[in-house]
C-alpha cells in the first residue's frame, strides 16, 4: 500500500535542515563516542516526549472519565522520563542545553523518535494499540538498559522500568478487552493493528550509531529486542482474538531525523510558547 500523502515529508525539508542555524543542532562531531551517546539518549527521550505529548492530547477528550485520567497519568510518566533522558543528553552534549531546551527548541529533523509515536491518535482503540505496540518494546528495552555500562543510564532505566511495567499491564489489558469485545470494538482494534503495523519494524532496525553503542555495552542492539517483543505481542494478540499482519514492510527514518509531516503539526502547538517567548518561566 502506498503511503498516504500526509505521510510523505515535504521534499525540501532535508535541504532546510542542512542550512538550519547552529542552535538546535548537536555541536558534537559525528562518530565520536559523545555524539553517539547524545543520539542514543535523544532517541530514548524523544520517543517518550513525543508519545507523552500525543497521549496528553486526549486530556479532556476521552470516552470515559477514568480513561481520561489514566491517559493523562501515563503521559505524565512519559514526560517525567523524558526529563531524565533529555536532561542527561544535555549534560553529555555539554552545550548548555537542558531537557526543556532540547524539547522545545529543536526542529523536526533533530528529533530522533520512531515514526510510530508521532502517528496521530486516531480513535481510542488506535491510541491504545499504539501504546501497547510501544510498551511491548519499551519494557524489554529498559530491562536491557538496566545492565548498561553507563551507570547514569542504568539508574534511569531502573526508575522508568518500574513505571513502564504498569503501562504495559494496562495497555495489554485494554487491547485484550477491546479485541475480545464487541464486533465493533474488535473491528476497530484490528484496523488499528493493521494501520500501525508498518511502523513497528523501525524499532528493531539498527544503524552504525546503535552498533557502536551496543559494542560499548551502553545500549542494546535494536535487533536484540525483537524476540521479547514478538513473545508479548503474539500472546496478547492471541488473547485479544486479533490477527497479526503478515507484512514485514517497515517505514523508517525517524531515528535518523527523517519524519512524517505529522511531526511538524505536533511540534507547532507543543513548542509554540517557548518559541514565541524563549525562556519563559512561571
Amino acid at each position: 500500500m502506498a503511503p498516504a500523502m500526509s505521510d510523505i515529508m515535504t521534499p525540501d525539508a532535508a535541504e532546510l535542515a542542512k542550512d538550519a542555524p547552529g542552535e538546535g543542532r548537536a555541536p558534537l562531531a559525528e562518530g565520536t563516542a559523545e555524539h553517539d551517546l547524545f543520539i542514543g539518549l535523544a532517541r530514548l527521550g524523544d520517543n517518550t516526549l513525543i508519545l507523552g505529548h500525543r497521549v496528553s492530547e486526549w486530556c479532556g477528550h476521552s470516552p470515559v472519565l477514568e480513561e481520561d485520567i489514566a491517559l493523562a497519568n501515563m503521559a505524565l510518566d512519559l514526560i517525567g522520563q523524558t526529563q531524565l533522558w533529555l536532561g542527561l543528553a544535555g549534560e553529555v552534549e555539554g552545550a548548555g542545553r537542558d531537557a526543556d531546551a532540547l524539547a522545545f527548541r529543536r526542529d523536526a529533523w533533530d528529533f530522533r523518535n520512531i515514526l510510530l509515536v508521532e502517528r496521530p491518535n486516531g480513535d481510542f482503540g488506535q491510541t491504545l494499540m499504539r501504546q501497547f505496540l510501544f510498551d511491548a518494546w519499551h519494557a524489554p528495552m529498559l530491562t536491557a538498559l538496566e545492565g548498561s555500562s553507563d551507570d547514569r543510564i542504568a539508574d534511569i532505566a531502573r526508575k522508568a522500568g518500574k513505571e513502564v511495567a504498569y503501562h504495559i499491564e494496562r495497555s495489554a489489558d485494554l487491547v485484550i478487552r477491546l479485541g475480545d469485545g464487541t464486533e465493533e470494538s474488535r473491528a476497530r482494534m484490528q484496523t488499528a493493528l493493521d494501520t500501525l503495523w508498518p511502523y513497528v519494524g523501525e524499532m528493531f532496525i539498527g544503524d552504525v550509531t546503535d552498533a557502536r553503542l551496543a559494542s560499548a555495552g551502553i545500549m542494546p542492539a535494536p535487533e536484540s529486542l525483537r524476540s521479547a517483543w514478538d513473545a508479548s505481542v503474539d500472546q496478547v494478540l492471541a488473547e485479544a482474538t486479533l490477527t497479526r499482519p503478515e507484512s514485514t514492510f517497515a517505514h523508517k527514518g525517524g531515528r535518523q531525523g527523517r519524519h512524517t509531516e505529522h511531526m511538524g503539526h505536533l511540534l507547532a502547538p507543543m513548542q509554540w510558547l517557548q518559541r514565541a517567548y524563549p525562556g519563559a518561566r512561571w
Binding site: E66, E67, I69, A70, N73, M74, L76, D77, L78, I79, G80, Q81, Q83, L84, A136, A139, P140, L142, T143, D151, A154, D155, I156, R158, K159, A160, G161, K162, E163, V164, A165, Y166, I168, E169, R170, A172, D173, I176, A231, S232, Q235, V236, E239
Partner: protein
C-alpha cells in the same frame, strides 16, 4: 547554632506529603539522606514517579521547613538509585492511608513488565484489595491509574465506595 542531623530528620517528619497530607515525607521514604558537607546541609531526595508533579512542591516544602528553622546553608540533591519503592512506606503511614480512605500497597504485587506472567491476572483473577471503608475484599479495579500515577482506581461491590489503591512499585 547548627541543627543536628537527628533534629533535621524530625523536622522533615513534620512536612506533609503535598498530595496525601496525612503522611509525612519521611513516612513516604523519599528522604534518602541528611548530612553535612562542611557547613552545608545536604538533603537527598528521591522522586516517587519520574513525572510526579509533587516533586517540585516537595522540594519547596523541604527548603521552607528548614529555612523556617534557621537552616540557611542548604542544598537539595536528587538521587535516582535505588529507585523509590512503596516497600519504604512505614507501617504507621499505611495505617494513616487506610484511615484516610486510600487502600495501602500490598507488598510484593508490583508489576514486573513481563506480560506472560500477568495474563492470568489480567483476565480476572485480580489482586484482593480491601475496601478502606467497609473492609470487604469484594472490590474491583476500575482503572490502573487513579487520581495520581501512584494510585489505581477501585470500587467496592459491597458498600459501593469508589476508592484509590496505592499501587506497589
Amino acid at each position: 547554632m547548627v541543627a543536628g542531623v537527628d533534629q533535621v530528620w524530625a523536622w522533615l517528619g513534620e512536612v506533609p506529603d503535598p498530595e496525601i497530607p496525612v503522611i509525612s515525607l519521611t513516612d513516604l521514604g523519599i528522604i534518602r539522606g541528611v548530612a553535612y558537607q562542611g557547613d552545608t546541609l545536604v538533603v537527598t531526595v528521591t522522586p516517587t514517579y519520574s513525572g510526579c508533579p509533587a516533586t517540585s512542591v516537595i522540594n519547596f516544602e523541604i527548603a521552607k521547613k528548614l529555612r523556617d528553622n534557621g537552616v540557611s546553608d542548604l542544598r537539595l540533591e536528587r538521587q535516582l538509585s535505588p529507585p523509590w519503592t512503596t516497600d519504604w512506606i512505614t507501617p504507621e503511614a499505611r495505617a494513616a492511608l487506610k484511615a484516610y480512605g486510600i487502600a495501602p500497597p500490598i507488598d510484593g504485587t508490583a508489576a514486573d513488565g513481563v506480560i506472560a506472567g500477568r495474563i492470568a491476572r489480567l483476565s480476572g483473577d485480580n489482586l484482593r484489595v480491601e475496601c478502606p471503608r467497609c473492609g470487604s475484599t469484594a472490590t474491583e479495579k476500575v482503572s490502573q491509574f487513579g487520581s495520581t500515577p501512584c494510585k489505581a482506581s477501585y470500587r467496592c461491590t459491597d458498600c459501593l465506595e469508589p476508592f484509590d489503591y496505592f499501587k506497589c512499585i
